[in-house]
């Protein structure tokens, strides 16, 4: 499968380029040489300090978040057989957001929200799967509706919290809601590990997903143990989403559009689509975060704003290019 190899090599190159750019750019621009020396543990102390403790953790966090969201979105779109599905459709990010906002209101700093956010996301997952399972049997339509309902409920709670919050805390809360990497101080290794694990599972998962795109009955007739595979994939997607929002808040757009972008470019073979979406989503978020840090420097934008500003035109262009064929 040489085309797949070429695709993955190109995307890996793009990810590395985005990473190098992220390490070079900032309040103190660093030349590529200085970055390389600092990465090797040599060169001046200032550059080493900036690269290792500030920019590299943040770039890795961005890559992990973008990759996880893109993979979760790709999984949800196939499982629900709905092109509008995204990682947040089951309400995972809403639960995380409510918990994170409560944390902010209680006086936690942006760097201390990981645990409340993760707990909120897990609680939301438990709730939505519990609701979908009630009444026996596994029913994807019920899962989707439970998720949509739950997400609406979280949305209302979020509005409530914003309305009653201390105005001084509002900017921090809004940044979290839009998705922001400003609070990242350490490399989120667990998120990167989860992303690596998903990429490794891409081949066997993708094989089943390719068949499941034909619908559950047909997939079963072709030999996929649908009743077993479906919940596993849903839970994987939900956990990936939970990890992503824990690191960066609810970054929009990446999970919805990156899978489509990749699909429009390389086709719909899930075995290739999953790792390609991971790389593309990660690169997009690294690039977006670099822009978010520098566009209005010294002010920083929330990265979620930039992902949309950057991704929407590209997406619409690709869509139209296909449409005219």
């Amino acid at each position: 499968m040489p085309r797949a190899v070429v695709t993955l090599i190109v995307l890996t190159g793009a990810a590395l380029a985005a990473g190098v750019l992220a390490l070079m750019t900032g309040a103190l621009p660093l030349a590529p040489q200085r970055v390389a020396l600092a990465l090797a543990g040599q060169g001046d102390a200032l550059a080493r300090q900036i690269v290792w403790t500030v920019r590299l953790p943040r770039a890795l966090a961005a890559f992990a978040v973008g990759g996880l969201l893109a993979v979760a979105g790709a999984l949800m779109q196939v499982m629900l057989r709905n092109p509008l599905a995204d990682p947040y459709v089951l309400g995972v990010s809403g639960g995380a957001a409510v918990a994170a906002l409560l944390g902010l209101m209680a006086g936690l700093g942006a760097g201390q929200l990981a645990w409340p956010a993760f707990a909120g996301a897990l609680g939301s997952i438990a709730l939505v799967f519990g609701l979908a399972r009630r009444g026996g049997g596994w029913n994807p339509a019920r899962l989707l509706l439970s998720g949509v309902g739950l997400a609406a409920g979280w949305g209302a709670l979020i509005s409530f919290l914003l309305a009653v919050a201390d105005p001084a805390r509002l900017p921090g809360m809004l940044f979290w809601l839009m998705g922001d990497l400003g609070g990242v101080t350490r490399t989120p290794w667990w998120a990167l590990a989860a992303l690596a694990l998903l990429a490794c599972l891409a081949w066997p998962l993708g094989r089943s997903l390719n068949v499941m795109a034909r619908g559950p009955l047909e997939a079963q007739a072709l030999g996929v143990p649908v009743a077993r595979v479906q919940p596993v994939i849903h839970v994987l997607a939900a956990l990936a989403t939970a990890l992503a929002v824990t690191v960066a808040g609810s970054v929009g757009f990446v999970g919805l559009v990156v899978p489509h972008l990749v699909r429009l470019t390389i086709g719909n073979d899930q075995r290739l689509l999953i790792p390609a979406a991971a790389l593309a989503g990660g690169s997009l978020l690294v690039l977006s975060d670099t822009l978010a840090r520098t566009l209005l420097a010294p002010r920083a934008l929330p990265v979620g704003v930039v992902t949309a500003l950057l991704g929407v035109p590209v997406f619409l262009y690709l869509l139209n290019r296909r449409g005219t064929r």
Binding site: P204, N210, G215, E218, Q220, A221, L222, V224, P225, N268
Partner: protein
Amino acid sequence: MSPLAARQLVLDVPGRAPGAPLDFALAGGQMVAILGANGSGKTTLLHTLAGLRAPRSGTVQLAGRAIGAWSARARARRLGLLFQDDVASFPATVAESVGAGRFAHQPPWRGLSDADRLAITDALAALQLGDLGRRSLDALSGGERRRVALATLLAQDPPVMLLDEPVNHLDWHHQILIMDHLARLTREAGKTVLLSLHDPNLAARYCPLALLLGPDGAACWGPSAALLTAERLGWLYRHPFACLDDGGVRVFVPR
């Protein structure tokens, strides 16, 4: 041992009285037509036999074992089903779509083997789709898409093939092509083929056995030559039929 058998099988058709239980054991090399009016339970029967739907009572035995006792993979290597409706098109090429038929034959970590590729090429060729392998599914006509779905089943290559109205959407040439091919598979490869049809003439011409699903769950089963008569078709479809003689071949036409 029978490749596929129904034991005291009562279909679960919502809102219908149980009707007579079905009891039959198919043999390798048999080709059986299922005839019946709309809503008589043809699709329900095929889905129940494929293990996709639970019966109200009774059992289905695949190669001597209860259908539910097989793993999905192992079952798909022994039994395949062509659905009545084609999948809503999803972005894939014809060859990729037909390749899904090989799913149950591949170990989880491997891609297509040479045997898989050969099965796909053969299936495409058998249905005269050889030139369309790289074409996108969206770009096909309804009849072509039907043949792609059939090719997927041929690539799956199970000993028991269930087909729900396989000649839907097909022109006469392709209807005959497919019925010829299925008949050849029963004759030369010993496949067991059970297919629902709407045309009693195709059933009479190709299927030595027929299963009639009558109104309200009544059913009868036997050699088509004896079973298919104008009166019985009239009962089956609640519409009078005439039987014409075309040089020794009986032809049924609705009056």
